[in-house]
């Protein structure tokens, strides 16, 4: 059939192809959707996670697949475009009919996908540390909540380093805003005066840090031990750290503790001037554990490059994937409702030598580690929590969410249950 | 219908609403002079394009401007039509209208039309559309949006088409016309806009001798009803139409008079034939 390139023909072609592609859902594989940006600004972080999921899928298939079927990864590229995340999620769920999605990095992409997941009853694993204040029936959060990263980090600075003055520096978006809000409340609870807290926000990809670093320098030279808590995002970190190094702010004078800087970010520049600055995560590549060494070997073998690093979101993906596999095996089906029920209470080894537990609020229990940057771009663990810390969906330090509780187990089955009013609001699933 | 007759008036399709009509420009020519140009000075980066230039043109006159390249002919036209603002000097249209206080569009609405050196017709539009755009009519936004050609206007366009000999090409895109035809079309656009004063820059450049002759006839016939200022290099042509000629040199008027007077003017001879003559 031939037609002139008219609007009519084209639109029909669109409709026809799209409709047709839905008809090919095969039943002999279990489909795993991968929703990570492969182009655009977020590609730099997310491409690694796509590779991690593909590696895990390959490994699982080597072990004989799942429920007697092979796993099949379906990769789409939402191109760092937030509305496209929703569209691609819909495509994965309705056209490709995937059984689970591993995806998203930024909060906004998760927020964009969330209504689609709830509408179509999909299942997604979100592997990045985030601001909390959310618990959806259809999402499992395998990254850290603020109480699994920020609060222990501040405890460490306060108790072990004797920090009295605080700079909270972040990129202007929701994660730093929430984290800093929580920290501000937390610090004030611990007797820190408002004049000893400096809060600063910068735009995405900020590249000229001269003034801010110099402000930090003078803020920090008032005689009290000062630390910077950095929630600066992605791109902006390299020029920030370069400026720190050049202006001679050493970790002994003013330590900077970061929540968004991991091995991957450090691999982009020379860390020798930054030795001793800190990061708080639930995993570091340098952790001395056999599970970790195995994982690193597997990663290097898969990616074919000994220089590639591993990082915390990769561990979160690893845990999420293994938990999902266990839950599917336990439920005997990939049906979302059954898997969701089976997920709660799942335990699986993490990469730091302990066990990760999925809690009723869809967040994990994880250990919190604090590492110092080394001159080879790795972190050296200098402190860790005694045991694991359960993730808290709703912060106890925010007035709006103090009274909220997430519990997806019977009988509550609510992501934001208001303890005071007894109401469960904001749910848009059926 | 008992509507007030005046309100009915509002909906007549051949009229725009009165409150949208700009006040009819009245050019006061009680002293017979329609254009006063006095003491114009203009320099670009040190180059004096106009140097204390004075020029008076009578109503209904046909005036030719001649002069070497860079004498300031085109710059003078730019100043009169509002394209360029002089450093000093005044330009008055009739007794009362100070042209320096108006922009190009207003000056055109006042009744000064201009034909450029290079024919600039709208090549992507038809010959008829080109003329329609040039019609003397309300040029405001809403009137233009809702306007329709009235039968008088269509007649007007048709008669101009006839004058410029493009009746056959009425529906042709202007871009497909020959160079001479474009020149004619541009003259037609001038005619259809019924200006009081026409500024015509090199009208016969690139025309065949026949066309040149017709142009000369047309321009002479225009004089009287309209005032015409022609800039031209073709001396034959100037001689054939000119009653009064002004010679521009280095931004000011060197001589003025009939062709013969000008040609025998000592200053002109000196400038054109060299100092040693």
């Amino acid at each position: 059939m031939t037609f002139k390139p008219t609007l009519k023909g084209v639109t029909f072609a669109v409709a026809a192809t799209l409709a047709a592609s839905a008809a090919y859902a095969e039943d002999d594989t279990i489909k795993v959707g991968v929703l990570h940006s492969l182009s655009g600004t977020m590609a730099i972080s997310e491409t690694t996670l796509k590779d991690t999921v593909l590696m895990m899928v390959e490994e699982q298939n080597k072990r004989g697949g799942l429920l007697g079927k092979d796993l099949e990864a379906v990769v789409v590229d939402p191109a760092s475009n937030w509305p496209l995340f929703a569209e691609k999620a819909r495509e994965l769920l309705t056209q490709e009919e995937v059984d689970v999605i591993f995806g998203s990095w930024t909060s906004v992409s998760r927020k964009s996908v969330l209504p689609v997941l709830e509408e179509l009853n999909g299942l997604m694993f979100y592997p990045v540390q985030y601001e909390g204040e959310e618990s959806s029936k259809n999402i499992f959060y395998t990254g850290a909540a603020p109480n699994q990263q920020a609060i222990p980090a501040v405890d460490y600075l306060m108790n072990d380093l004797g920090v009295e003055r605080w700079v909270l520096a972040g990129t202007d978006y929701v994660y730093p805003r929430t984290t800093n809000k929580i920290l501000e409340a937390y610090l004030k609870d611990h007797g820190v005066a408002a004049s000893d807290i400096m809060i600063n926000y910068t735009p995405f990809s900020h590249s000229d840090w001269q003034s801010i670093v110099s402000d930090i320098k003078s803020f920090g030279s008032q005689g009290k031990k000062t630390a910077v808590v950095s929630t600066i995002n992605g791109d902006a970190n390299v020029p920030f750290y370069k400026e720190l190094g050049n202006q001679g702010i050493s970790a002994e004078d003013i330590p900077v503790i970061a929540f968004s800087v991991g091995e991957e970010e450090l691999s982009g520049f020379d860390t020798s001037p930054l030795v001793g600055h800190l990061a708080a995560w639930n995993y570091f590549q340098s952790v001395d554990a056999d599970a970790n060494y195995d994982f690193i070997d597997m990663w290097h073998a898969y990616i074919g490059d000994e220089d590639r690093v591993t990082n915390d979101p990769m561990e979160a993906t690893y845990i999420g994937f293994n938990m999902w596999v266990q839950a599917v095996e336990q439920a005997g089906t990939t049906d979302v409702d059954a898997v969701e029920k089976a997920m709660i209470g799942q335990t699986t080894p993490n990469l730091t030598g302990g066990m990760a537990v999925m809690n009723k609020n869809h967040h994990l229990s994880k250990p919190v580690l604090i590492g110092e940057i080394q001159d080879d771009g790795q972190f050296e663990v200098v402190w860790e929590t005694m045991g694991v810390v359960p993730g808290d969906a709703w912060s106890d330090y925010l007035p709006g969410s103090k009274m909220l509780l997430a519990d997806w187990a019977f009988p509550l089955e609510c992501g934001n249950f208001n303890v005071e009013s007894g109401a469960c609001s904001g749910q848009s699933y059926e | 219908m008992t509507a007030h007759p005046h309100s009915l008036e509002l909906f007549r399709r051949d009229r725009v609403w009165p409150f949208l009509m700009p006040p009819e420009p009245r050019v006061d020519v009680s002293h017979q002079v329609i254009l006063y140009v006095e003491g114009l000075n203009l320099s670009f980066d040190g180059f004096k394009a106009l140097n204390d230039l004075n020029l008076y043109v009578n109503d209904g006159e046909l005036r030719c401007l001649i002069g070497a390249n860079g004498a300031g002919k085109t710059t003078l036209m730019d100043v009169i039509t509002g394209k360029t603002t002089p450093d000093s000097g005044t330009v008055h249209f009739g007794q009362s209208i100070d042209l320096l206080h108006h922009d190009e569009a207003r000056i055109a609405q006042l009744g000064i039309g201009r034909k450029f050196q290079k024919p600039t017709v709208f090549e992507a539009q038809t010959v008829a559309d080109n003329l329609e755009l040039a019609l003397k009519t309300n040029k405001g936004i809403l009137p233009t949006l809702f306007s329709q050609l009235s039968s008088e206007q269509e007649d007007r366009i048709h008669s101009v088409l006839h004058t410029i000999g493009l009746v056959q090409q009425k529906r042709l895109l202007a871009g497909n016309l020959s160079h001479g035809q474009k020149q004619w079309l541009e003259i037609g656009m001038l005619l259809v806009s019924e200006p009081r004063l026409l500024l015509i820059d090199e009208p016969v450049a690139g025309m065949t001798p026949e066309e040149t002759e017709r142009t000369a006839e047309l321009l002479t016939s225009l004089a009287g009803k309209h005032t015409v200022i022609v800039v031209e290099h073709d001396m034959e042509f100037v001689r054939s139409i000119a009653r009064t000629v002004s010679v521009l040199h280095q931004g000011s008027v060197l001589a003025e008079g009939t062709m013969d007077q000008v040609q025998n003017h000592p200053d002109v001879i000196e400038v054109y034939l060299g100092e040693d003559a």
Binding site: D270, E372, E380, V382 | D45
Partner: protein
Amino acid sequence: MRLAFVFWFGLLVLWASPVWAEEPSAEVNTLLEQLTEAGLRETQPILERLASSGDEAVVLPLFQTLLDGDLYYRRSDGRLLVETDVDGDDHYVDYFSGEDYGELGRREQSKVRINNSLRGYLSEAIARMQLSHEDPAVRTAAVRSLLDDLDENTVSLLAEARAGESHREVRQALDLALAMYTAEQGENSAARITAIQDLSESLETDVRNLLFQLSEYSDDGGVKAAAAEAMQAIDQKVTFYGYVDQLFFGLSLGSVLLLAAIGLAITFGVMGVINMAHGEMLMLGAYTTYVVQLMMPNMINQSLWVAIPMAFLVAGSVGILIERCVIRFLHGRPLETLLATFGISLILQQTVRTVFSPLNRRVASPDWMSGSWEINPVLSLTYNRLTILIFAVVVFVALLLIMKKTSLGLQVRAVSQNRAMAKAMGIKTDWVDALTFGLGSGIAGIGGVALSQLTNVGPNLGQSYIIDSFMVVVFGGVGNLLGTLVAAFTLGIANKFMEPVTGTVLASILVLVFIILFIQKRPKGLFPQRGRAAE
């Protein structure tokens, strides 16, 4: 980092005894054994005992290696190792015997871990040991690093050093330290007040903090008043230097903008090509730097000198290619060159992403660009910013000379002003076009080398500078190189002086709004081309 190691290693060899020297005494040996087994909290007592063992020849290099994070031990027997670079591979060498154990796997060796407080302890201990170092600069630095922690022991050490010190600067530093001690702990108020008055000349932050403490909490009224007065004097100077600092920041931002925009001032300003791929030329320059460093891993200090001409060639030839293949077909249609070059920019970005991966690449800074030039304790200019500022001006002057003094420049100007006439006069306009575009792109490539020292080297590098570049060129006036210079520095300084008041985001927005309004007022920029030719 290997590079840093080489550097420090070199230093070590220069001033300390060779690393693998005599085997230490039994006491030290036991301590070292404990060191490899200790947890972070137990390390400091061991180090203190090591320091007090008195064996400086062993302890000083050991502490230095530890501080540099190069001290490892073998898991099997606890032998101390140093990580050493051998032909580009990390080898582990026995700390004492110098025996090379080759590359050891993750599970065979471990690092002797230190943390920030240990690092602090180590640098202080090293400083104390270095009070008698032969280099006066090292001695000064040692004294200054002790300022924040002056106890009786240290002070007596310092007083002793003062007695035998002959170098002027070291003496000044020592005097300052002793004055601080007197101001705080002096026997009578008169002595304390005199000391405080001496201190008011100093801009050291430790001094200021001490004075602040005294002015707020001192029991002695006279001391309190003197401290407050001294502090006021210091604060005035600090404010002044603050402005100087801001000005420098502004100039520095301006130089970055200049480097980013200067290539565009040629391609867009002179040729009228709206080159949306300009940012990618910057990116190519930055990646060239990366590749050059990959090819000469042991010569980072020299690599930039190779990278600059290379970047010019790479970006320049890509530019010529673009001109020959695309832009020459689009003469006189500036808006279409915008679309075409935008397409090119996407292709270049994706090419880089495919070849080098979407991850940022690590570009090392040469040593002469790290650190800062400390004019005084509150004013220090970072070397990289300073270098880039000078570099930007040099590039600008060079470009200006090319445009004004060479025949290429003359032809370029001729073609840009009147193509047909230039052609008629025998100028090969095609050739000139290609070279001009190549020149603009090449200059952008050089700008990219500079940017690689400041920011991320990744596929998005170009994108983040393209809008700024256009703003600078348009603000300065298209076709006017000097305008570009003035515009870049004006915007840089304006931005930096607004930032403290409005915050970063608002400052950028205000600058943009200002440019939009400015263009309304002067559509042709700060320095417009005038005359009929410009129409």
